[in-house]
């Protein structure tokens, strides 16, 4: 990783008795796009607002570009921010909104005009400069908000669920656009979301948050394929969790239903014989029926079938465990039927022990 630009060191935030953010540490490199991903109420907004300066950390430090900003006011930090509710100034035109930060900073008229024009072309809203916010669609308003945040060339861009008020199509096109602009301007960005797909598709790295803590920090690939805790595994993607009893710690053998399976070495973390472990398995690691190259199979019964278009999601009951898996929809073969006995197979290497 290149040099650290934003550094959050041991930050804690309490409102009265309740601690909302606990011992949060994060180093963000210059130009990096980092997402805070987590369920509602886990403290994402609060952490972001501390970076912006709207909330003061109860403990810890926040450094931007090597400078301690923990005690600076929001208007002294040179930060760009996009809010969920757009928050464009209704009394100002699009151009005036975009130029607001520059004007406050005392930039010259010519400078403002040039920059506003440049930003309008970046967000592809040339010709909308004289409109008022109420004359724009939600997606357009949010692009203007992005331009307003970026116009003064802030050190860091903060986005708090900027897409959640938009409908699905706009959301997807705008997230691609945001990512493209971010890359083009090479601006260090923190993006708050509770949508895992958004986080996975946009980020360089993701911070999965739970109950005020950073559960795991990693690239989308790491987060998705190697979740380090049960929470992360559950929250990111649709995960199957199977209960397995340790049979022999020495050979890393566990028993699922009545089958003994050898796990990859070094995963047991000192568990003893008889311990019950949670074993994670992604839907895409499982196939219906027997297949070459997959060393493990278990018998079960189909308990649910949902047709999702190109794929069919099948739920299979396996005694007290149950798994979901996806099969491709093929017009040639009939879909699985609820109640049918079946067999699933997977590779034991794909089983991941959760802690």
């Amino acid at each position: 990783m290149s040099e650290t630009f934003l550094s959050i060191q041991g930050v804690r935030k309490a409102f009265g008795q309740t601690t909302v953010v606990k011992d949060f540490n994060l180093e963000v490199a210059r130009g990096e796009f980092v997402s805070f991903l987590g369920p509602s109420g886990c403290g994402k907004t609060t952490m972001l607002r501390m970076v912006a300066g709207f909330e003061e950390p109860t403990a810890g430090r926040i450094m931007i570009g090597g400078k301690d900003v923990t005690n600076l006011k929001p208007n002294q930090r040179n930060i760009g921010m996009v809010f969920q509710a757009y928050a464009l100034f209704p009394n100002l035109t699009v151009s005036q909104n975009i130029g607001f930060g520059l004007k406050v900073a005392g930039a010259s008229k010519a400078e403002i005009t040039d920059r506003v024009k440049e930003m309008l072309s970046i967000i592809k809203l040339e010709g909308f400069g004289d409109r008022y916010p109420y004359q724009l669609s939600g997606g357009q308003q949010q692009r203007v908000a992005l331009a307003r945040a970026l116009a003064p060339k802030p050190k860091i861009l903060l986005l708090d669920e900027p897409l959640s008020a938009l409908d699905a199509k706009v959301r997807i096109s705008l997230r691609e656009e945001i990512r493209a602009i971010q890359k083009k301007l090479d601006i260090t960005t923190i993006f708050v979301t509770h949508d895992q797909e958004e986080a996975l598709s946009m980020s360089d790295r993701i911070v999965v948050m739970y109950d005020g803590k950073a559960e795991q920090v990693g690239t989308p690939f790491e987060i998705y394929n190697r979740p380090s805790t049960k929470f992360v595994a559950n929250f990111v993607g649709t995960l199957n969790v199977l209960d397995g009893t340790v049979v022999d710690p020495a050979t890393a053998t566990v028993r699922i239903n009545d089958r003994d399976i050898s796990l990859k070495k070094g995963q047991l973390n000192g568990a003893k014989a008889g311990d019950v472990l949670s074993l994670a398995l992604r839907p895409e690691a499982i196939v219906l029926g027997k297949q070459d190259g997959r060393d493990t199979n278990l018998g079960g019964q189909i308990s649910d079938v949902s047709f999702l278009g190109s794929v069919i999601r099948v739920r299979v009951g396996l005694g007290k465990n149950a798994v979901s898996l996806d099969t491709f929809n093929s017009p040639a073969s009939p879909p699985p039927v609820v109640g049918e006995r079946t067999e699933i197979s997977f590779s034991s290497d794909d089983l991941l022990v959760l802690h």
Binding site: A85, Y132, P152
Partner: protein, 263 residues
């Protein structure tokens, strides 16, 4: 016509009659100064009266300053309460209602006792001082209307997010209030201002007891001593008040459309 419609119209007609008949009668009476024919003589006399011009000008100026005091007092207060102390809003609402409950005469007697020439704050020692005190008194009387108008205006915008958006882009408090908050509640502020104007123009008690040459005491004086002119003045006063109200209505159409409530 459906029966419900009929009753609605009847009620409306009764209300309108109750409101308009005295007004029409007053107007008709004000036209009868010249014996045997209708004329605007009473109005000519009123408008030609130097004291009318002087008192009206005085009250207009006082009203303008009162509006300024009211705006400077109410806009930041209402804004701050919405932003930082929403829990004390009921208390402030109650306080702003007090001028409707406490009679003006009580307030003005309080002033006379508090701010006499021997007091630490001798407003009443000079004419200018008395004028200032009168404006402050009027600002108090107008407080219930001004506060409500501004507060309602603030409700239509997302005060907190707009403030934060302005802050994060570098704005300080003055910039936020002057460039963002005030323009967005301008229509509300103006309606508060016109209500204030209407109140100040007709106010009698305070001006009279503080012995200032305002329009209210003049109205009263004429009313007690003349026949036709008071009727003309009543119609004029009504026209002024009604004019203020109409301006508020017209302004309301220009209220900025809020784009900040996506829901």
């Amino acid at each position: 016509m459906k029966p419900s419609r009929f009753w609605a119209w009847l009620t409306f007609a009764l209300g309108a009659a109750y409101f308009f008949i005295p007004l029409i009668a007053t107007f008709e009476f004000s036209l009868r100064m010249r014996r045997g024919e209708y004329s605007f003589d009473a109005y000519r006399v009123v408008f030609g009266d130097v004291r009318f011009q002087e008192t009206f000008a005085y009250s207009t100026i006082i009203a303008c300053f009162t509006i300024v005091i009211g705006v400077l007092l109410v806009v930041p207060t209402a804004y701050w309460i919405r932003l930082r102390m929403p829990q004390i809003r009921p208390v402030v609402e109650f306080i702003t209602l007090l001028p409707l409950i406490i009679p003006a005469i009580v307030i003005v007697f309080g002033y006379i006792r508090m701010y006499g020439s021997n007091s630490p704050l001798p407003f009443l020692a000079t004419t200018r001082g008395t004028d200032v005190l009168l404006m402050i008194g009027y600002a108090t009387l107008a407080l219930p209307y001004m506060y409500r108008a501004v507060d309602t205006g603030l409700r239509t915008i997302d005060v907190r997010t707009l403030t934060e958006a302005a802050q994060v882009h570098g704005a300080g408090w003055t910039t936020i209030i002057v460039r963002i908050i005030l323009p967005n509640v301008l229509i509300a502020v103006l309606s508060g201002a016109f209500l204030t104007f209407a109140i100040v123009i007709g106010e009698f008690t305070m001006a009279s007891l503080l012995n200032r040459p305002a329009f209210g005491p003049y109205l009263q004086n004429i009313g007690a001593n003349r026949a036709y002119e008071p009727a003309a003045l009543a119609v004029i006063s009504f026209a002024i008040t009604w004019g203020c109200m109409s301006v508020i209505q017209v302004l309301a159409r220009f209220a900025p459309k809020s784009a900040n409530n996506p829901n």
